[in-house]
């Protein structure tokens, strides 16, 4: 569920097909536009899941799965 929503959000942000986004899809920051996209993804996730993502944790999201795991953990800690 969580993973599916993230897929959808990211697909919209980067203008890609949902099927092309996999758990291993990297969340790399190469330039300013990547960084903005990540910030946007963080904001969208916060809205969708009603959570707060700590900015100092964002650098640990190397791929989509890391982000999903992080959110799953946040939700289960609630």
């Amino acid at each position: 569920m969580i993973y599916r929503i993230i897929k959808k959000l990211l697909a919209e942000i980067i203008n890609a097909e949902e099927e092309d986004i996999l758990p291993e899809t990297e969340l790399e920051i190469n330039d300013r536009s990547d960084a903005i996209n990540i910030a946007r993804l963080v904001i969208e996730c916060e809205k969708s899941f009603k959570i707060t993502i700590n900015d100092e944790d964002v650098h640990t999201f190397k791929c989509v799965k890391d982000l999903a795991d992080y959110i799953i953990k946040l939700k289960s800690d609630d």
């Binding site: 960084a35 903005i36 700590n54 900015d55 100092e56 964002v58 650098h59």
Partner: protein, 753 residues
């Protein structure tokens, strides 16, 4: 004579009767087991069908979550059933074993308050009438069976859970039963028992250690059944059965009463190497128990530090023993890092970390100071009961909590900043968040420089000369300490850690960080205890806080260092178990009297080993004038050992390097293998092995090679000769070229060829 016949008929009849009972129990059990299996298979099938029907591809939906919960309700009785099946299967296995040989001994015992003698049969497992609960056979570990091991004819007692039970023995009988047939039996007095033991000992060595339940000696039995002590230390001569005692003790602890019994995952054996692990791996299963975990010191280093790249103990010993690489500083360094003084230095160092070595830096957020380095330091220095890594983690959490409190405000400010910049007007929020992510990432990295410790980097700082002297203030340091510091600093430039540094770092990890993997361990068995030093025992003490220890060693079998009885005092001090005892096993059962007597001359002081007198060939020394004639003599001895049908013929060399060079010369001449790695190997047939790998093992015929004065010169080398020669069960031969080792004085022997 007539009496003997009557007895013999009685015993044969009794055995038939018992075997009938076993067969009956077996067939009942098999039937019930089959029924259970069928029921499990059908419920498994049902569950699978349910499973695939109810849980569609999406595991995350609420509906499927409920399905999973329901499925779990199926699974729970199913897993109960499975464990019942396993229990029964084990029982079937043990009954099948009993069909072959249901018991090995009997005593006639009269309880003090009764008039008649009762026949107590003793076997590897008990056999009980399920309806009447009558005991047909008592498990060798049952309290009453201890009488068999501890008493002869006459008054006797045993300790039962309810207290001491006294009575009288009027018969002790031992049986040889094989394939369900009574081969022979004898009524035992001490002499005949010894004869029987001699017969058992004269058998060839096997590649796996065997059980000794038929021949456990009184003093061994006392150790096996001791449950009062938190720490039992056994100083046992080579071949005195230390390891057997340890394993039978483990089996005993797994058998004892329901509340106090231990399970396989409550016990761990610290073993010197893989070869040894493999050698002892059959004993517990043969005794009908699950095997327990064994750990090598390398496993512990890896588990605690997660390091992969460090010197193994075998490599360390190889380096130490290789005279060609003779390196005084290396040896001094290893010696120094194994002494209690170094442990004290490490303790001081761990305490000193927050005071002097962790570089706390002021933390700023949103342009204001959040926490000054002074405050952080004093926060961490408080609450010394918690591990340092925990205190630092709490500090990090504390800092982040105040960052989080101010974050909304900070992002607002960033938004205003982006807005006033007018550049990214369409993505104001994202840009502000991006900036916050950037600065938060930088912040956390700065904080973690002092909240997350790099223990390897810190350990390097310990060897800074000025710092080292300040921390070692008031301590007795070795004369060559400056060389040791240089040597260590040099080594620590590389990622590959020396064995002694890997140990020190492991100790620091345990001092500084939380490690609770072994909280469930209640019994630790340490074999070859003399090979471990103060630092090892400090590590064991932290790793197994709740455990009792059984520690077995021989101070005469150290490698590359020397020990005396004070080793055990030191162990007692470090492990701090108030209920402790030191037992000595001085009788050696392994070697023939000839080999035992011969090896005694390699012992220093007036250590006397009491040998269980079995006789065999006199050990011989063979000189080779040239390498060729030397090799030929070795080959000839191998052939002669093979002629005597010895199953394991070991050529023991001082180091791996020596073993390798001998192997390269011999492999063309004769069928031979080299055992030199840290891994598993087959220890039957003919093979070459370095001394340190042969520890704890035994072989039918031993050939000590390269026994020249260069290889065996120091007092420590003499100890190696003791270890090597006491590996032999039946036959020992020694070979050299050049000048013979000074410890093998040929003049006295008169047996040199």
């Amino acid at each position: 004579m007539g009496n003997k016949h009557i007895e013999s008929d009685f015993e044969k009849e009794h055995l038939r009767y018992i075997i009938e009972i076993i067969k009956e129990q077996l067939s009942d059990l098999r039937l019930s087991n089959d029924e259970k299996k069928i029921s499990v298979i059908s419920s498994k099938k049902e569950m699978m069908e349910e499973n695939s029907r109810r849980i569609s591809s999406n595991l995350w939906s609420m509906e499927n979550f409920h399905a999973l919960v329901e499925l779990n309700q199926y699974a729970s009785p199913l897993s109960n059933n499975i464990s019942e099946i396993e229990r029964e299967a084990n029982k079937i296995l043990s009954l099948e074993k009993m069909l072959n040989s249901p018991y090995f001994a009997r005593i006639n015992f009269k309880f003090d308050d009764e008039d008649e003698f009762e026949k107590i049969y003793i076997g590897s497992n008990s056999l009980v009438d399920e309806k009447t609960h009558d005991m047909y056979i008592y498990d060798w570990r049952s309290p009453i069976a201890s009488i068999f091991y501890r008493f002869g004819i006459g008054n006797a007692f045993y300790d039962a859970p309810a207290g001491r039970i006294t009575g009288e023995v009027n018969l002790k009988r031992q049986y040889e039963i094989s394939k369900g047939n009574l081969e022979y039996f004898f009524d035992a007095d001490i002499q005949i028992m010894d004869e029987f033991l001699r017969k058992m000992l004269s058998q060839n060595a096997s590649s796996k250690m065997k059980t000794i339940i038929e021949t456990i000696q009184k003093e061994q039995d006392i150790i096996i059944r001791n449950t009062d002590m938190e720490l039992i230390m056994v100083q046992g001569a080579a071949g005195s059965g230390k390891t057997s005692v340890a394993l039978h003790r483990v089996a005993y602890l797994m058998y004892r009463g329901l509340s106090s019994r231990l399970y396989a995952d409550n016990i761990v054996i610290i073993s010197p190497n893989t070869l040894f692990e493999q050698y002892i791996s059959n004993v517990l299963p043969e005794l009908g128990e699950k095997n327990v975990n064994s750990l090598k010191i390398e496993d512990i280093i890896q588990m605690v530090t997660k390091y992969e790249s460090f010197q193994t103990r075998n490599d360390f010993l190889e380096n130490l023993l290789d005279n060609k690489k003779h390196d005084y500083v290396r040896k001094c360094s290893a010696e120094f890092k194994s002494c209690p003084e170094f442990v004290e230095i490490l303790n001081r160092f761990a305490n000193d970390l927050p005071k002097k070595l962790i570089e706390f830096k002021d933390v700023y957020y949103d342009g204001k100071i959040l926490l000054s380095s002074h405050l952080m330091k004093s926060r961490v220095m408080r609450n010394k009961n918690a591990k340092l890594s925990l205190r630092l983690g709490q500090l990090e959490e504390y800092i982040l909590a105040s960052v989080h409190e101010q974050r909304k405000l900070r992002i607002k400010k960033l938004k205003y900043f982006v807005y006033s910049n007018k550049r990214y007007v369409f993505e104001e929020e994202e840009t502000a968040r991006m900036l916050s992510i950037y600065e938060s990432t930088a912040l956390i990295k700065r904080i973690r420089k002092f909240t997350r410790l790099n223990i390897f980097e810190l350990y390097k700082k310990l060897f800074n000369e000025k710092y080292f002297y300040s921390i070692a203030k008031g301590m007795d340091l070795p004369a060559c300490i400056d060389d040791i510091l240089d040597f260590t600093n040099n080594n620590l430039k590389y990622e590959y850690l020396n064995y002694e540094d890997a140990l020190a770092i492991t100790f620091l990890y345990l001092k500084i960080t939380e490690f609770n993997l072994f909280g469930n361990i209640k019994q630790v068995v340490i074999d070859e205890a003399q090979d471990y030093n103060a630092l090892h025992y400090e590590i064991f003490s932290i790793l197994f806080p709740a455990a009792h220890f059984t520690i077995l060693g021989d101070i005469n079998q150290t490698i590359g260092k020397r020990e005396d009885l004070s080793l055990y005092e030191e162990i007692g001090r470090i492990l701090g178990r108030p209920q402790n005892t030191l037992v000595t096993l001085n009788k050696s059962f392994r070697c023939t009297g000839e080999i035992s007597r011969y090896s005694e001359k390699f012992l220093s002081g007036n250590t006397k080993i009491d040998s269980f007198g079995r006789s065999g060939d006199e050990p011989e020394i063979h000189a080779g004038d040239t390498t060729d004639s030397y090799d030929d003599k070795i080959a000839r001895e191998i052939l002669s050992s093979r002629g005597k049908h010895y199953q394991s013929i070991a050529l023991i060399c001082k180091t791996r390097r020596d073993a390798f060079s001998l192997y390269n010369r011999l492999k063309e001449k004769i069928d031979i293998r080299l055992i030199s790695g840290d891994g598993k190997a087959d220890i039957s047939g003919t093979f070459i092995i370095p001394i340190y790998s042969s520890k704890g093992l035994e072989f039918d015929s031993v050939l000590i090679c390269d026994a020249d004065n260069e290889h065996y010169y120091t007092e420590e080398d003499k100890m190696l000769l003791y270890i090597a020669s006491t590996r032999a069960l039946h036959r020992l031969n020694i070979f050299y070229t050049g000048e013979i080792s000074r410890f093998l004085s040929t003049k006295e022997e008169g047996c040199c060829r």
